[in-house]
Subunit: 340 residues, 2 copies
């Protein structure tokens, strides 16, 4: 990313003053790779972070590992999740690993405090430390371990040279239509392969059209079935994808089958707009989730997947900011350029 | 603020990729209003938010109200604070109000959860709600109430037309050398008067030079004494200005008398560089404290108030970002343009 300025996508007003702005790049593409519209340069290469978890889960499903382990749509939703470590997430992840004969120390995601306030308070109350199941990526790692067990790889499954990560890399290249130019190590220790925003949006359009009448440019065979199952799992279990109160969960519910979405750290968001066969990918330059959440809500509304009067839309993209006495002293809103 | 792009002041790298940037405006000025150096436009008007609490405290001291109420330097530090609602802050604020015959309901700052994790946990453990003393601005409001009681104003002391706020407005105009063009209501319900970054930096240079040999362009008389007492109070009680672990507290300690600093919400930071008679004011466009803390640390180092090998500097402005297994997968650093 160079330092030329991307457009302002989100504004924060305080009284009559424009107090903060969030700049970024956003791309809407079709499954054939056509850029329908873009703000900033679609060729901009980013780290997709957790927004690409459905790509990272493709080897799990395509290889037959998911079926061999008897995984349900709940497991697949959790594999695509950045969850908040609430009981529904940690309990499912724990049962999942036990079901394939593995346990917490087999994970390589590391430990962080759960983002769920209840879970954090509960741990603190009994002076207990979190474990790797609380990591927001533990579902992805359960998926990695399931695929890896099926494929017979060694235990260090997050090594970038490990056959599992090489399979993820290959899948990334195939679904984006790009050669991966590099990677970084993610917060959960897995390699995160760099992609262009145009390539990421195209990949998401292919997820949107997998197994539908939008054929020819989308996935075929095992990939089409796998992509469809993953998208359907995310749509069916919004709370497993993130958690109560979180943007992904609220947006998937509000889109009601028209689209599913996934956030990534440092200002990334994608949408799989099944109804229109489109993919959306965006990155806020400063990495602030306040910006990426507002921008994705605006683009979902722009493409018919969310109503602007929906409370989920207004909370994220057209929202008063209240002060400590309930006075609306500010307003967060998507920039005019994202509204139609 | 228009939407022309300000320079990148802070970079966040992940592996070999520039992952996030924080743009902003920064100004270094003398007490005569000379701009020593600037990134972006010194005429940019911002809401200074809590960075101007020492200006808002001038009427308290200049009027004689502080002395009449027997306030110590601890009280004055708390009046300039955005504290985290830990016991040292709430206990002092509570004693302060009782000492002038007032109590919690007289405050108009409103309630928010304390930012101190221990205080939050303690409240939650006994299922108690926070009160207005936990508000990060409660010290400022104790100062407002003390000044107001001395001046004989009515109880709604945060009304923008209230004589106390008019006194704050006049002080703001005098110390910045500007006519206030507007205001917004702050999170704590007090009016927050808009100033240019150049004006704010100039005001801070005047605080830096109050009562020193840098005379002629700085404050005189009661204002000089008041400004000096406020700066000395902040320097003497860093933990009261913010709290353990917070950037302001750590920076004031590390600067060891060479400078004091104060943050403001939405990406604002100021520094009063006593040793060199300079003032610094900056605003990060996206409002992220990660950006404003890195930028102020870099400017303090640039102007001799902080060493680049100091752990406080490296933590804020040249810091590895560790993942959940302790691997340094990223790096936060002030942009080259801020380093000399």
């Amino acid at each position: 990313m160079n330092q030329s300025a991307n457009p302002v996508l989100v504004e924060v007003w305080r009284g009559a003053m424009l107090d903060c702005v969030h700049r970024g790049t956003a791309v809407v593409a079709t499954a054939s790779g056509e850029v329908v519209e873009a703000w900033g340069d679609p060729a901009r290469v980013i780290l997709p972070r957790s927004s690409c978890k459905m790509i990272q889960a493709l080897p799990l499903v395509e290889s037959g590992a998911a079926d061999a382990a008897g995984l349900t749509s709940e497991h697949l939703a959790l594999a695509c999740a950045s969850h908040q470590g609430a009981v529904p997430h940690t309990a499912l992840a724990s049962r999942w690993l036990a079901g394939i004969g593995l346990s917490e120390p087999d994970l390589r995601c590391g430990v962080h405090q759960p983002n769920d306030p209840e879970a954090r308070h509960e741990l603190r109350g009994r002076r207990a430390a979190p474990d790797q199941f609380h990591n927001n990526c533990s579902g992805k790692h359960c998926g990695f371990l399931t695929a890896n067990r099926h494929l017979g790889g060694g235990p260090e499954y997050v090594d970038p040279d490990h056959p599992l990560q090489q399979a993820v890399r290959l899948a990334t290249e195939e679904v984006t239509g790009e050669t991966v130019s590099g990677f970084a190590i993610d917060g959960c220790s897995a390699p995160n392969f760099a992609v262009s925003l145009g390539g990421l949006a195209t990949a998401m359009a292919r997820f949107a059209t997998a197994g539908t009448s939008f054929t020819g440019v989308s996935f075929t065979g095992a990939r089409a079935g796998a992509a469809r199952r993953l998208v359907e799992a995310m749509a069916a279990h919004p709370v497993l994808v993130a958690g109560e109160g979180r943007a992904c969960t609220n947006l998937i519910r509000a889109c009601a089958g028209r689209a599913v979405v996934k956030t990534g750290a440092a200002g990334v968001f994608i949408a799989i707009v099944a109804e229109r066969g489109l993919g959306i990918a965006l990155k806020i330059d400063d990495g602030n989730a306040r910006g990426s959440e507002a921008a994705i809500a605006a683009l979902l509304a722009r493409h018919g997947a969310l109503e602007r009067h929906d409370p989920v839309y207004t909370a994220l993209a057209d929202s008063p900011i209240l002060n400590c006495r309930g006075f609306a002293h500010g307003h967060l809103r998507a920039a005019e350029t994202l509204l139609d």
